[in-house]
């Protein structure tokens, strides 16, 4: 019964609406502006907390990400769907994850944040969403041309536990080394004392919302990339209804919370270089399409035992390290010194992957 509900239209709408309520609320409770939830930004903050990059304004072990994976893990076990599988070109998935992150950080947000920025009145998000759709459109062209990364194989149950256990390890680190007021380091973890990394909702609230989203999204298969992909490829609106619900409900919630500020200039953690807001998300959208899921979906898949999705997630975290160490990530002042070069290189790499990894599957 419950299983049927989640697979239905109302299941996906409910998940989008839940995110639409709780993302703006997380912002109200302390998360950065129009960043109640952002999978790319939060994985980037995790990379910072671990010291994989040393951009001192974006260092925080985000409990939401931990909750997403563990929530999906719990849901998969409750509904007997946990299945360890791996081996579908993991190295390619790692590279796609890294470039997806680099593209997202040129725009400054994953597809979820693109929707949340739109729902908060940030007009620059429109260019990001157009880029996202453009990148996914190119991806569908490859999918129609027999692009695929090969089959995954069933494997030891413990393989599927690896990313959930890493997340439990991250949770243990926050509990062992909590933030000390005014200090940028606690034990092994780095913290931000200014900038978006210093803005966060209370730990257990963030973790609780993360777990709930993880459970709902695992059940309903919520995916922002799939939403556009299925619309373009099959004229199917099922997943698309989820993101429509997210944007509409987040918009209403922002109005109620007085967090809706329409405009282009001085939007929180955003820049106005429209071409690169577009270009960054073309790269991210293409990488997501080639990997079969948006960054959120990759976390939920990893939680239900997909080792290849877990590799994509690690690729994103490492990609965030490169993005900040190499000056690829944007800031409110505009794109980073090497951001444009990185987008072009990323597009070339994704196109090479799309063109060279094709095989007819009978």
């Amino acid at each position: 019964m419950l299983r049927k509900f989640f697979a239905s239209r109302w299941g996906i709408i409910g998940t989008g609406a839940f995110i639409g309520v709780f993302a703006p609320l997380l912002q109200k409770w302390g998360n950065p502006g129009n960043m109640g939830i952002c999978v790319a930004c939060f994985e980037r903050d995790i990379a910072g907390a671990l010291g994989l990059h040393r951009a001192d304004v974006v260092q925080y072990m985000r409990p939401e990400i931990i909750g997403f994976v563990l929530g999906a893990f719990i849901a998969a076990y409750l509904f007997k769907e946990f299945r360890s599988r791996a081996g579908s070109a993991p190295i390619v998935r790692f590279v796609l994850g890294a470039f997806a992150m680099i593209g997202a950080l040129v725009f400054l947000g994953c597809p979820w944040r693109a929707m949340l920025r739109l729902a908060g009145g940030d007009g620059n998000a429109v260019f990001g969403i157009l880029g996202l759709v453009g990148g996914i459109w190119v991806g569908t062209w490859f999918l129609k041309g027999d692009y695929n990364l090969g089959r995954s194989q069933e494997t030891h149950t413990a393989v599927g536990w690896v990313l959930p256990i890493i997340m439990l390890g991250f949770l243990a680190l926050i509990l062992l080394f909590p933030q000390v007021e005014g200090q940028d380091k606690s034990g092994v973890l780095f913290y931000s004392i200014k900038g978006p990394g210093s803005l966060h909702a209370p730990l257990f609230i963030a973790l609780g919302v993360g777990l709930a989203v993880g459970i709902l999204a695992q059940r309903s298969r919520f995916c922002t990339m799939g939403a556009f992909r299925d619309l373009i490829l099959f004229r199917q609106t099922h997943l698309f209804l989820g993101i429509v619900a997210l944007v509409v409900v987040a918009f209403i919630t922002n109005l109620i919370l007085k967090q809706f500020h329409p405009g282009f200039i001085n939007q929180p953690i955003a820049h106005t270089m429209s071409l690169w807001n577009f270009g960054g998300m073309v790269l991210a959208g293409l990488a997501f399409a080639l990997a079969g899921g948006c960054p959120g979906r990759q976390l939920f898949l990893a939680g239900e035992g997909d080792g290849d999705a877990a590799v994509f997630v690690l690729g994103m975290i490492v990609g965030a390290g490169f993005a900040h160490n190499f000056g690829l990530a944007s800031s409110p002042q505009g794109v980073g010194p090497h951001g444009i070069a990185a987008v072009i290189i990323g597009l070339v790499v994704c196109l090479l992957i799309g063109f060279t990894m094709r095989k007819k599957i009978a």
Binding site: E81, R83, C223, G226, D230, G292
Partner: protein, 72 residues
């Protein structure tokens, strides 16, 4: 059997793409689709239904499912 689509181990949206391809090729009849995740099971069933095909039955097979779809 020629009308079996083996979509086990494939990422989204490959199982649906392969099902749609086969549907367009044979127009009517019966197709068995093998998948290995619940997501693929739901997606393939939804896609077949949207094309006017009926899901005749879903059986567990190995660690996945065999989905039978048909159109007269």
């Amino acid at each position: 059997m020629s009308n079996t689509v083996d979509a086990r181990g494939l990422s989204c949206p490959q199982p649906v793409l392969l099902t749609m391809e086969r549907i367009q090729k044979i127009k009517k009849g019966e197709i068995a689709i093998l998948v290995d995740t619940d997501t693929s099971k739901e997606n393939v069933s939804r896609a077949a239904t949207s094309q006017g095909w009926k899901v005749k039955g879903i059986k567990s097979e190995g660690t996945g499912y065999r989905i039978m779809i048909a159109k007269k």
